[in-house]
């Protein structure tokens, strides 16, 4: 992990306004993403984990500028894309591609697979139909699919195969970053492993970076190099995978790890139960967002928001238990 990062995000914020009443006046806003920063190097996989609604998918869409950020910088391949206009951003999209969660919805059911997976090539490279077809066949081969898929329709394929096709489309313009938003959550467990291994093989071949969004810690442990934990729009902890799983510092991370299913429940060890519901992001708790459910809550947690600091070397954590002050 050397050289400039492929992606660097600083102080990223996304606020969605809420409109109420007949006059559609702005009644408030949801801070879906609140001052988030991280970076990803070439050939690295950063996993973004958290419960549903914590803003992890929003981050994925912000990074690709499918949503416009409210504040912050997004530096992709050396360029700050947070303020680019639509056309400038469009021509920059070849650097970063996306794989979506729903393999049934992300392929247009009316189009032949060949058309779908070469659509980005069409947008960025002036190639003839024959050359584009050849590129499509090569892409299919890379994701382990036969060439005859080019002329077939999405409904003829299973979920795992469709996710391979979606990956072929993402790879078509040789991006340096792929944002994978829960790419295996919709798949059977046996197929999940195949797709994850394919992702890892492709990374070894091409040194591509992944921003891998997931709520499944088992999957994250398999594919991630580094892991960032989110709660209600904020980063709670970020560390190497091994460090994070072996010695999680944040009580939320500890609870997440304790709550994830393991093959042998007796081997689980310490169990930290987490109680209550995720609070509303419209009206989040003061101070540390997690204080309403934290087993170690202190008066300070209610008043003051902890900042993300190094709790240990290379191990960032936002918790008053670990902050020096």
């Amino acid at each position: 992990m050397t050289g400039a990062p492929v992606l660097q995000v600083e102080g990223l914020e996304k606020r969605f306004p809420i409109f109420r009443g007949a006059l559609r006046r702005q009644a408030g806003e949801v801070r879906a993403v609140d001052k988030v920063g991280f970076s990803i190097a070439a050939g690295e996989t950063l996993c973004l984990v958290g419960e549903s609604g914590c803003g992890k998918s929003t981050i994925g869409r912000l990074v690709l500028r499918l949503l416009a950020p409210s504040a912050g910088r997004i530096v992709l391949a050396g360029t700050d894309i947070s303020g680019l206009n639509a056309e400038a951003m469009r021509s920059f999209r070849r650097h970063a591609q996306m794989v979506f969660q729903d393999p049934y919805g992300s392929l247009n059911p009316r189009l032949k697979v060949g058309v779908t997976i070469t659509e980005p090539i069409e947008n960025f490279e002036a190639l003839g139909a024959a050359e584009r077809h050849a590129r499509g066949v090569a892409l299919l081969a890379r994701v382990g699919m036969a060439a005859d898929a080019m002329d077939r329709f999405p409904f003829e394929f299973s979920g795992g195969q469709r996710q391979r096709l979606a990956l072929a489309r993402a790879l078509s313009v040789r991006p340096s970053l792929i944002v994978a938003d829960e790419p295996v959550s919709a798949l059977d467990v046996s197929v999940q492993a195949q797709v994850l291994n394919l992702l890892m093989d492709l990374q070894e071949e091409t040194n591509i970076a992944y921003l891998f969004i997931s709520h499944d810690l088992g999957v994250v442990e398999h594919i991630g190099h580094r892991v960032a934990v989110m709660y209600l729009g904020r980063l709670m902890e970020m560390a190497d995978r091994d460090t994070l799983f072996a010695s999680p510092l944040h009580p939320y991370t500890q609870a997440l790890i304790a709550a994830s299913p393991v093959a042998d429940p007796r081997a689980r060890g310490l169990r930290v139960p987490i109680e209550g519901e995720v609070p509303s992001p419209v009206n989040p708790p003061s101070g540390c967002h997690f204080h309403t459910r934290c087993p170690h809550v202190m008066p300070r947690c209610r008043a003051e928001q902890p900042s993300l600091v190094a709790g240990a070397p290379g191990h960032m954590v936002a918790c008053h238990l670990h902050s020096a002050g």
Partner: protein, 279 residues
């Protein structure tokens, strides 16, 4: 994709499409072949007026001695021409305006308010107003009926569009660097076609009825052209003495509208993915 369609199975599964299509084709053939199968609809024969149906005049004659069969056959040309033209023009205009809304939210806001306004006016009133402002001709009638029909198509296109543009494959196309125009053409437009085909049949049916209504009121095509509407209007005074002069154009009108509606219903059932299975 199944390369061959089993005709008998298709007929069994989609009886309404087949019945509607056959009826419509028969009506079309009659209208197209009018000069071959009937005489001059305008030939006056005052001696033979108000004659009941006979071997010589299959549908009888009207108060001016004109052959009702010939007039009914020729009148079908106008009805079907108006029906198909209105359906075609309204669909094309509706797609154009609807897709324009896709490209700009500002245009969308303005256009949809205009469409709401148009829909608030009863279409037959608007048509009467337009026809009386200009010269009576078939083209005027078609334009007058098309304009109030456009908002229905536009709203349909917009409704489909709003649904499709939230689908992940549209976001995927954006992420893949496709321009909005390309996304519209490749991903949005094809999704609007099946509901539009159904809507076009309903537009055609209502256009045939409105045309007949306009002709009946004398606000439609010039009286020199026989249409079902002005035939009924001209002969209604003689309803008790010569019912055939009203009956035949009336039945033809009903059959034409029924045929188009049956076809539309069948297509709706067939094209709605929630109701139909693959052939």
């Amino acid at each position: 994709m199944p390369p061959r369609i089993d005709v008998r199975r298709f007929v069994r599964r989609n009886p309404t499409i087949v019945i509607g299509a056959i009826l419509l084709i028969v009506l079309l053939m009659i209208a197209l072949l009018a000069p071959l199968i009937s005489g001059d609809p305008q030939r006056l024969a005052p001696i033979d007026r108000l004659r009941p149906p006979s071997a010589q005049h299959w549908f009888g004659t009207d108060n001016l001695g004109r052959d009702v069969f010939a007039r009914t056959v020729w009148g079908g040309r106008i009805s079907l021409l108006v029906g198909f033209s209105v359906a075609a023009f309204a669909t094309v205009a509706g797609i154009g305006i609807g897709l324009l809304c896709y490209l700009s939210g500002w245009i969308e806001a303005v256009v949809m308010r205009v469409m709401d306004g148009l829909m608030a006016i009863p279409s037959i009133l608007l048509a009467i107003a337009l026809v009386s402002l200009t010269q009576a001709s078939v083209a005027t009638v078609i334009i007058a009926i098309t304009i109030p029909e456009i908002p229905r198509v536009t709203r349909l296109v917009r409704a489909v569009m709003l649904g499709v543009r939230e689908r992940p494959f549209v976001e995927a196309a954006t992420a893949g660097g496709s321009r909005p125009l390309k996304i519209m053409w490749r991903h949005i437009l094809p999704a609007t076609i099946p509901p539009l085909i159904v809507q076009a049949t309903y537009s055609a049916a209502s256009a045939i009825l409105i045309e007949a209504g306009l002709s009946f009121l004398g606000a439609g095509t010039p009286p020199s052209i026989p249409t079902w509407g002005n035939m009924i209007a001209g002969s209604r005074v003689f309803l008790s003495s010569a019912p055939w002069a009203v009956f035949f154009p009336g039945v033809s009108l009903a059959v034409a509208v029924l045929a188009v509606n049956i076809l539309g219903d069948g297509l709706r059932d067939r094209l709605d993915p929630r109701l139909s299975r693959r052939m």
